[in-house]
């Protein structure tokens, strides 16, 4: 069972590429969600972030000040587990598996088996509560999440040119969400993305300009922790399967800078029943919306903005 969960978490292969032009009646707005916002800066390889923030709806402005692509991945370990527990208990097995893949040439299947065996029992109760999609150096994106009190872990597990995971290099830190609530409500979104186990549904008027996307996970995956969506601007000849392969952590050259396409953000894994928000500016052209963990193998929407 655990082996399968791990497989789902890190295996991404295209099962569907759908061209879709969407129309809806929603309106782009940032609403009043700027009342409680924080800034998190990414550099190669560390985060600058506050140590404590209030609970409730929180807008995170995430700026990549590094020279490589980064994302923000937020995990909430079970109560009583610390940053140190997470780093040593979770990241270490992942890194060991990564080294076995990279240096020893074991198969991805064997790597997953090893990972499933090495992760602690409590790993399966970790909640992944959102984060940003990948953004390039110099870019900024915003996400809005409803945060519960407790210890949260920020990390980026993209990889350096030498094939080291960014979190192992230091891009991992703790942030404590306090009991003190923020008074902010969620933003209004003009584009609604719903992620289910086998589908990604996008509603709204996808036209050039800045949009606020809501991302709702309607189903908890049978095997996995939630769903995510990354947005990438692509060329007409981009091979979508190559993008999906790049997104696979276990590929030797996966998640390294430069990526094969320009990512512009998105929403990292959130669990069933939760909704998060992200902003992105769309230009005329072709975009891929990639959800790594929908279905068994991932789902991608191929959208042209006119």
């Amino acid at each position: 069972m655990k082996k399968l969960l791990t497989i789902t978490l890190f295996t991404v292969i295209v099962i569907g590429v759908v061209n879709q032009q969407l129309y809806a009646q929603m309106h782009s707005s940032d609403g009043g969600h700027m009342d409680h916002s924080i800034t998190i800066l990414a550099e190669d390889y560390a985060f600058q972030a506050p140590n404590e923030i209030p609970s409730g709806w929180t807008t995170i402005e995430f700026t990549n000040e590094g020279n490589e692509d980064h994302f923000l991945f937020i995990a909430k370990p079970p109560e009583g587990k610390t940053f140190s527990d997470y780093a040593s208990g979770v990241l270490t097995p992942f890194n060991n598996v990564w080294y076995a893949l990279r240096d020893d040439g074991i198969s991805q299947e064997d790597a997953m088996g090893k990972l499933g065996a090495d992760l602690p029992e409590w790993f399966w109760t970790v909640e992944f509560i959102g984060g940003t999609g990948i953004i390039p150096a110099g870019a900024t994106t915003q996400i809005t999440l409803n945060l519960d009190p407790g210890v949260h872990i920020l990390e980026c597990y993209m990889k350096t040119g030498d094939g080291e995971m960014h979190n192992v290099e230091g891009m991992m830190r703790e942030i404590t969400v306090t009991e003190s609530p923020s008074e902010t409500s969620q933003p209004d979104a003009d584009i609604a993305i719903t992620l289910s186990n086998f589908d990604m549904n996008i509603e709204g008027d996808l036209k050039p300009g800045k949009h606020t996307f809501s991302v709702h996970v309607s189903e908890h995956p049978e095997q996995g922790f939630g769903h995510n969506v990354h947005v990438a601007r692509v060329n007409s000849d981009t091979d979508a399967q190559e993008i999906q392969r790049y997104m696979n952590f276990m590929e030797i050259d996966g998640l390294q800078t430069p990526p094969p396409v320009q990512f512009i953000g998105g929403m990292h894994i959130i669990p069933q029943g939760e909704t998060g928000y992200f902003t992105a500016e769309l230009q005329p052209g072709r975009y891929l919306f990639l959800s790594e963990y929908t279905g068994h193998l991932g789902v991608m929407k191929d959208i042209t903005i006119e």
Binding site: E43, D44, Y45, A46, F47, Q48, N51, E65, G66, N67, F83, S84, D85, Y86, A87, S88, L91, T92, N95, Y99, V168, E169, G170, M172, R173, E174
Partner: protein
Amino acid sequence: MNAISAYILPLIVSGLLFAMAAVSVNNIQSSHVLENKTVAGQPVLENLSSEPGIVEVELTASKERISLKPGVETDVYAYNGQVPGPLLEASEGDSVIIRFKNDLPEKTTVHWHGLHLPFVMDGSPFHPVEPGETFTYTFRIHEGTAGTYWYHPHPHHRTAWQVGMGLYGGIIIRDPNDPLPDTLTEKLLILSDNRFDEDGEIEFAEPNSRQERVDDMNGRDGDVLFVNDEIMPELSIRSGEVQRWRIVNASGARMYRLALGHTFTHIGSDGGLFEHPKEVDEIILSNGERAELLVHGTGEPGSKVILQDLPYDRYMPMWRPSNWDETNDLLTLRYTDESPVKEPFEVPETLRKIPELNIDDATETRVMRMSNGKINSKTMDMSRVDETAELGATEIWDIRNLVGMDHPFHLHGFQFQVIDRNGEPVSQRKWKDTVNVPGFESARFIVRYDNYPGLWMFHCHILDHEDQGMMGILEVK
């Protein structure tokens, strides 16, 4: 090069002054170390000058084969054939002349860690001494400098290697008006660690090995701990006696959490004595830092206590070694059988007055973001000036550690005063040249760039990190 050449003139002037002083020196001897003479328990560099106020010594770095571990000979780099190198002893106001010769098979420098001196005498990576070449380091010891310092090489990308091979030595600067009596027994303890292979040779990680990766992240920890040139040496103390210990952390990466089983009096750090002594159970000494302690012989005649290195978690959790939580014994302090001292020494309540650097005078705050291997997202570039400041200016440095392991931050050339940690004011004013910043914490210090323009290094003093480029250049002009 223009920036560097701007500092040549002061060097020439300085060199002329020292040349004049050196002319009067007679009886220059070939011996580098005074036979049988020790200071604070250490062999001391012989002062070849008979002139008052002049300390002239000879120092040679060479490859040697000596015994570090009992019964085993090891290839080392050594100063004057010794590991650690012999003690350099001078007093405030002295002019120091060090005739250095590089007999190593590679270039090196000698950095006088913590001393306030001209840029060209700092032994930074800007001034390598090529194999077979000589260089004369000359500088004056300023008033207020008295304290414990050390010297070590500082060639770019090779510091961890050369220090690991054995190049480090202690420095004691004396205050003619030291508030503590010279009747106190004085000990200099230079702490280091090393790794050895099966043949007893110093072991460094193989290139591209997993161990190299560990050493890159943590710094190269050794599993054999030395106090001076011994493993687990024994010192003696008389019951009721008070001894003055000076401790240097010369390890490339290991930080020491020192405890003696009973309290001791912490009286000084990098830049000399505190204003007020402080009773403590333990101290943490990060890389490059020094401490001065008064050790009170509170034990019974014939008993013993152990100086220990208690567990200290300086690591990112995913890189923490499995034995990090083990206690290491460093030395035995054995009480003599003599009857206790009748009139115990009373520690003065005030040791000295340290002038305050006023925050209101600060004209700039420089933020240093430390991630692993980088400062402010940059790795060291010898052709790039990272920060520029005016000579005489007072500034604040805000050192922010963005990652989950300790990074000790060292500034060359100028002693500073830590003003707060994580926003909380520090309890006592003291002179420092190295401040340890634990993971995700911050520290601010205030510094005034007195006397010496130049290109001054700032860096993490985990030597592997320094070599990776976790270093920058401050130009003071």
